[in-house]
Symmetry: C2
DNA sequence: ACGGTTCTGTGCGCACCCGTACAGACAGGA
DNA sequence: TCCTGTCTGTACGGGTGCGCACAGAACCGT
């Protein structure tokens, strides 16, 4: 088997799920995958709609969002290169309960949902890996549900910024107050105030569409326990 | 194979997951199950602790609860005879992200977690069934996360009462304001006020530890969209 | 019948965040 | 350079639910 066919993305894989596969299984799966770009605000699947493709994220961040009536959209989870978009397929669900929205642009390796089902049915370690990813996402959503019920805006914003920071390289988070407000389900000007609160605490700085993390420890102090509760690896991949 | 050994609960199974198994698989699994009673406020597993047994619920309702610092506990999901307590085991997780707390007493058929893992490994339709249950729970938690972010107390209370009503027989929900307040993450007296609001709308009545559903349509009107969004079978099992 | 416990109703000041509005700052294209 | 659209800062009245407190009511065991 050729390790690097012209159109196959066999090298420099970033996705942690794919990397966790034994080399043989990985190579076999990689041959099926199609590299795609994840554009800002691209919708990978919609809530209540069938999932056409699953996406192993290579780079970037994807928000899982619940649409409510009145056009509101509440974020309930984040996925990155440690995860896959389209996890309901693993559970045998054709349709997704959430929308998957590209928050930070990047790259992914995609596969038709039916193809993934076939690969899972072939046996091997793939299913167990994906189930672990489901469990991780589930834990995240569980914590978010509790957090939304009890914690105030500054705490939730701090948590959200930390989660984003964990999932990107560098300290600049490219997002507007408006967008954060939508995801957290609050008022835009509420975010402006909360941002300036964190800024006064010297945890962050910001400038027109960019929030820069200056001091993670202070940001963690300002956030609620929910951040630590679902944090994965204590060491950030990139300072 | 004897269809009804003395100590085996082979008859009158109520759990929908078990009933969905083909007769042979079901009989084989039932032989391993131990009938237990679910007592009010019994803890079936704790958050962050290993799951010892899984419980196929026969009767009663179990709350999945996230403990927050300060002793608060927020409910993120409900399980009944359509589900199983201990779903993280299916995902290969030893520990649970939530506590499982018996809300309405009843009965269950339990199995050591390791035993369930072995049964799943044996193949057959069990895994697919349990994964569907995981998906259902996940959808419920997702909706709860959004609901907690946006909807007010009366709407959330109405939704909660409807969900309970769907999961019991009869119209009397045995619960105190204090307990509801804990589960929804609000003040006890806030529930008292919200209950009297729904009572003035002639949707419910109440009396010391019991809330009676008088008029489901009105209750549905008072609730947020989140109720309908995760509702399963349109027809209630019991009027 | 009595006393302790649990459950519920009510009130008060307050914190948080809403909805709305408006104006200044900045960026990018014509 | 101007114009337009986006992004942000700020303000104000108002609603919702908090935290606390207290009292009445119902239940339970003795």
């Amino acid at each position: 088997m050729h390790p690097s066919l012209p159109s196959s993305p066999t090298d420099s894989v970033q996705n942690r799920l794919l990397l966790a596969l034994p080399p043989d299984d990985r190579a076999q799966l990689l041959a099926l995958l199609e590299p795609v770009r994840l554009a800002h605000k691209q919708v990978l699947h919609d809530a209540g709609e069938p999932i056409g493709h699953v996406y192993f994220i290579e780079e970037g961040v994807v928000s899982l969002v619940v649409p409510l009536e009145g056009g509101q959209e509440i974020e309930v989870g984040l996925l990155d290169r440690e995860g896959m978009v389209g996890l309901p397929v693993v559970l045998g669900q054709a349709v997704a309960p959430t929308q998957a929205l590209v928050q930070v642009p990047g790259r992914a390796l995609r596969l038709p949902a039916a193809r993934l089902r076939a690969e899972i049915a072939r046996g091997g370690p793939l299913l167990a890996l994906l189930l672990r990813a489901v469990a991780e996402l589930h834990a995240q959503v569980v914590q978010t549900a509790a957090c939304n019920a009890r914690h105030n805006l500054v705490e939730r914003l701090a948590r959200w910024l930390l989660m984003l920071h964990d999932r990107i390289s560098g300290d600049d988070i490219p997002i507007t107050h408006e967008m954060i407000a939508t995801l957290l389900g609050v008022r835009r000007s509420g975010i402006t105030v909360a941002v300036s609160t964190l800024e006064k605490a010297d945890a962050i700085s910001h400038d027109r569409g960019i929030i820069k993390v200056l001091d993670r420890p202070r940001l963690e102090e300002a956030s609620c326990e929910c951040y630590g509760a679902v944090r994965r690896d204590p060491a950030r991949p990139q300072a």
